[in-house]
């Protein structure tokens, strides 16, 4: 062996450092980051909601994904409105809150949802003049 031991050590260190880069890349898998842009974009669709009260209500609220999307006072016996909502094939949940006068006898509200040219409806009964219930509506088609 010829040459300075210091020089030989220097070359060995350089070679080892050069090898370390591809080795590190091979053994350390980059942490995946979910690309939310590849998730199917939520599409809003026209949805018609109709409320039919068995007795005149004093007020109501309709919540979608935890937010009030419709509310009204003294709506009479019927109320209806058009919305643009995401409606996945698994369906949607609507939380329906209705208040009647305390003296109102046993009463109910019928909720009809029209989407994709089809309609589904459900009836929810009040307890002591008050109703707060989550109803699930699947795609009527």
């Amino acid at each position: 062996m010829r040459g300075s031991p210091l020089l030989r050590a220097f070359f060995i260190i350089v070679v080892l450092l050069l090898m370390a880069i591809p080795l590190w890349q091979l053994t350390h898998k980059a942490e995946a980051v979910m690309d939310l842009s590849t998730a199917p974009a939520a599409v809003k669709a026209p949805v018609h909601i109709q409320l039919t009260f068995a007795h005149e209500a004093t007020g109501f609220q309709v919540l979608y994904l935890g937010k009030v999307i419709w509310e009204g006072k003294e709506p009479g016996l019927e109320a209806q409105k058009d919305f643009a909502l995401e409606f996945p094939k698994e369906g949607i949940d609507l939380e329906i809150k209705v208040e009647w006068l305390p003296a109102t006898p046993e009463t109910a509200v019928r909720v009809a949802v029209t989407h994709n040219y089809g309609s589904t409806e459900q009836t929810a009964w009040a307890v002591k003049g008050s109703l707060d219930k989550v109803l699930t509506f699947t795609d009527p088609q």
Partner: protein, 295 residues
């Protein structure tokens, strides 16, 4: 003669009072049934919870001291549906008149195929994740206590009614909270398959790493399939459990980019530190954790 009769009456009266003061001894092998017995029995029962918060009921084996407790119990409560594989030991240690009640066996089970064994199906023992099942369990325990002490029938009924009303309010809150989450995002990736009853009641699909028991083996093929499912279904978060090692889930998040959604209580109640020491606290914690992570 008259004096003797009065003394006899007094002695009888005192004895009856003393007997009435003795609470019914209940030994419970599930944190869930411990709470039910305490709620329904009130001051008329003394409940010894053998399986405590943080203990894995799938792996628990009773110790000699536990079996001594069983020997003095009037009622032994287990969650049932094959969760406790040591019930024969409890029966052997119990007094002849002691009632051993496997609460979950009183109502229908969800079943699922065991991984690797095509023809074998197993019962899901985690019935308490359905509040509807919990209400049935309350009535099962009420009936058992009433049979042991018919004189206290009205007290047990009153306590059970109050607890059921609390469970109804809780169910209402759960439904409103879960309604904040779109139905197409209700996909739950958990350490082991403990949330089938919850999924059935609230419209979720479960993708577990392990089977219904924490003792089930984790297969590499299963993990690879799960990783692909999380990517295909765009699942935003996965959840670990309070008594499980979250290592595998951490690896899955690294592969998929999904985040760790938080800790769920799958096999029973938790500790006071995070308010999961009650059934209501546990359910509120699990539901809030799931909804906030998957939104």
């Amino acid at each position: 003669m008259k004096t003797s009769f009065i003394i006899l009456l007094l002695v009888l009266s005192v004895s009856v009072r003393l007997l009435a003061a003795d609470p019914i001894q209940v030994v419970s092998f599930s944190t869930i049934t411990t709470e039910i017995a305490e709620k329904v029995g009130g001051k008329l029962v003394k409940v010894t919870g053998v399986v405590k918060a943080g203990i894995d009921p799938h792996e628990y084996e009773p110790k000699p001291d536990d079996l001594k407790e069983v020997g003095s119990a009037a009622l032994i409560l287990a969650s049932g549906k094959h969760m406790e594989n040591y019930t024969s030991k409890l029966q052997e240690s119990a007094a002849p008149n002691t009632v051993l009640l496997q609460v979950g066996d009183a109502f229908p089970s969800l079943t699922m195929k065991e991984e690797g064994e095509a023809a074998k199906t197993v019962e899901d023992p985690h019935w308490w994740h359905s509040i509807a099942n919990m209400k049935k369990a309350v009535r099962v325990v009420q009936d058992a206590l009433t049979k042991i002490s018919p004189a206290d029938k009205d007290s047990f009924a009153k306590n059970a009614d109050a607890y059921e009303a609390q469970l109804d309010e809780l169910d209402k809150w759960v439904r409103a909270k879960i309604a904040e989450l779109p139905r197409d995002k209700r996909k739950l990736v958990t350490s082991h398959d403990a949330f089938q009853y919850f999924a059935r009641d609230y419209g979720f699909t479960i993708y577990p790493v392990q089977g219904v028991s924490t003792q089930d083996a984790i297969s590499s093929t299963g993990v690879a399939e799960l990783v692909q499912t999380i990517k295909d279904q765009h699942v935003k978060a996965v959840f670990f459990e309070n008594i499980e090692n979250p290592k595998v889930l951490k690896e899955i998040t690294a592969e998929t980019g999904a985040k760790i959604g938080g800790e769920l209580y799958a096999d029973g109640l938790g500790e006071k530190t995070d308010h999961t020491e009650t059934y209501e606290g546990m359910i509120r914690h699990n539901v809030t954790t799931i909804v906030e992570a998957l939104k």
